[in-house]
Amino acid sequence: MTSTVDGQLPGVALPKSELLEMYRLMVLIRRFEEVAAEQYALGKIAGFLHLYIGEEAVAVGAIRAMDPADHLVTHYRDHGYALALGLDPRRCMAELFGKATGLVGGRGGSMHFADASKHYWGGYAIVAGLLPIAAGLGLASKYLNQRRVAVAIFGDGATNNGAFHEALNFAALWKLPVLFLCENNQYGMGTAVQYASAVREMYRKACAYDIPAEQVDGQDVIAVYEATKRALEHCRSGNGPYFLEALTFRYRGHSMADPETYRSKDEVEEWRRHRDPVIRLREQLVTHNVATLEELAALDQAVEEAVAEAVRFADESPEPDPATLTQFVYADPITIG
């Protein structure tokens, strides 16, 4: 047994402030997503809305482990990544509302969050399409002798796609600093992993390319954080790519249109009740006297206000100016036509 240091979890070197920040971010993502669903029902948000509820520990654990200079590219279930990176919830919500103040000015919506200033090069909505791009970011880092790692976050479904295999091969062949972080939430839309993948453990697919790989409990934010730290260190030290599979679960439908005919309510309840990442961290923090219930309640309350403020901001923000419709198709001028 490791002895308990005041304000720390046993065996975990993280200070109390970081643990509370992880907690706050997970609650923020949870509440942001729940409120987004409400706003969807009210017609304030349209199109595809893929919620991250249940998977919060993966984004928070992994992204808190990254260096500020590291690159991030992700798939479309991306609100959690943006919030974990510390992006403004108001601008995130405004993007869902299709407003000019959104992260990408209302151009992308739910699936295409991005913030170049944080090296978050975007959420991509073509399954697996981001993976070669991540490898390319790794190539740039290596070419320029930087110590930046390119982190790619994607789903189990992406691992069955050719783009995944091309990207892994390139990254391994050229020893690129790329962390492939696969969120195995057991489903790709309504297709359970065992009906889509010949191999049920995603991390085993990395062995074909000699990429070191491991599985981590994606409901345990500390475990995700620590595994990601190690993986990033591996990549940063010039050892090439690393593959992490986080076992997780999405509580809600694939998108708002999902009737969830393909799985039982019991299965979902089981994860909600026994493997919830927020409850787990809360219990750890309280049990080990890192924080009191009152402290956590104060954080919950602050999140509640931040999310309400995000909705207010999004609601009051202007729509994109129609005059900007054709802006940013080309970066260099076109004088003809």
Binding site: A114, P132, G138, I336
Partner: protein, 334 residues
């Protein structure tokens, strides 16, 4: 000062000069290094610049373009090569769904200045290796599509593509690599990435084409000149953005238009040009716009059959005669 060099050498000069000018420029593609490039455009480059800057890749077109995108976002200037345009279909998701979208979709926050060099053509290569897909790319907002016919453009436009901030699909033609032409000296010879060029003036009919089609148009124009018919020959050079104004100005003079394209006629670049011209200059047209294009079959291997498929000079001449002398049906008198 200027020299006469081949189309291939013009491309080689452009790549070498840009690689010396900017360390961030690197090449990536199948067999471009040790093998020297399928069409020898990069022969000797890996010896000159080393394997980090001239990267042989696996046969993974989607990955090649995708890595190019990531590298560009990460601060490099990738020039990626797709061995032929036939294989670009394996990369089309990266090109259309990613490369073309990044600047707009993320609200102008960052660009992906990737140059995708590729080549089309034919030569008894049969159905899967003899296709013309410039229309697939010219359709897509966000891409620039360049298709140079002469060495001067090959060099000046490739350098511009590498220096620019937009993604460029740069299409070469396998049957014109040895064509010679005058190219200005100097490393700063760079052309704007837009605008067609009137390469031969004439008042009787306008011929529009690009890549090898331009040479067919020119050949037909020379032969027709001996018969007293003066063709105006326009080389498009860049397909997107399309310089429709230059075509319209010419049609306002000649009142007749023939488009020569090597791809299939249906849904092709020629269809777009014809539509755009009639939108602006219907009243100037004295004859229907004709397109000389490939016969709509998968390309056959046999030499005689292949010759029947692709446009040739005689078919261009035939089309010119048709727009000049076709009798429009006379309305029946009451």
């Amino acid at each position: 000062m200027a020299r006469e060099i081949t189309y291939r050498d013009a491309l080689r000069e452009a790549l070498r000069e840009e690689m010396y000018r900017d360390e961030r420029v690197f090449l990536m593609g199948e067999d471009i290094g040790a093998y020297g490039g399928s069409y020898a455009v990069t022969r000797g480059f890996v010896q000159e610049f080393g394997p980090d800057r001239v990267r042989d890749t696996p046969i993974a077109e989607l990955g090649i373009v995708g890595l190019g995108i990531g590298a560009a976002i990460g601060g490099l200037r990738p020039v990626v090569e797709l061995m032929t345009i036939n294989f670009s279909l394996l990369a089309i998701d990266q090109i259309v769904n990613h490369l073309a979208k990044i600047y707009y979709m993320f609200n102008g926050q960052f660009t992906a200045p990737v140059v995708v060099r590729t080549v089309e053509g034919f030569g008894q290569l049969a159905a899967t290796h003899s296709q013309f897909f410039e229309n697939y790319f010219a359709y897509v907002p966000g891409l620039r599509v360049v298709a140079p016919a002469v060495p001067k453009d090959a060099k000046g436009l490739l350098k511009a593509a590498i220096r620019g901030n937009d993604p460029v699909i740069f299409i070469e033609h396998s049957l014109i690599y040895r064509n010679r032409g005058v190219v200005p000296d100097g490393e700063d010879f760079v052309l704007p990435l837009e605008g067609a060029e009137v390469r031969r003036e004439g008042q009787d009919v306008t011929l529009v084409s690009w890549l090898r089609g331009y040479y067919l148009a020119l050949g037909a124009a020379e032969e027709l000149a001996r018969a007293g018919i003066e063709c105006e020959v326009i080389d498009l050079r860049v397909l997107r953005p399309l310089d429709i104004e230059t075509i319209v100005r010419s049609v306002q003079k000649t009142n007749r238009l023939v488009i020569i394209e090597e791809g299939w006629k249906s849904f092709g670049v020629g269809a777009e040009i014809a539509a755009a011209v009639q939108e602006r200059a219907l009243d100037d047209l004295d004859a229907p716009i004709l397109r000389v294009a490939s016969v709509e079959v998968p390309m056959p291997y046999a030499r005689n059959l292949e010759r029947l498929v692709v446009p040739n000079k005689d078919r261009v001449i035939e089309a010119v005669r048709e727009v000049l002398y076709r009798r429009l049906p006379v309305p029946a008198a009451d």
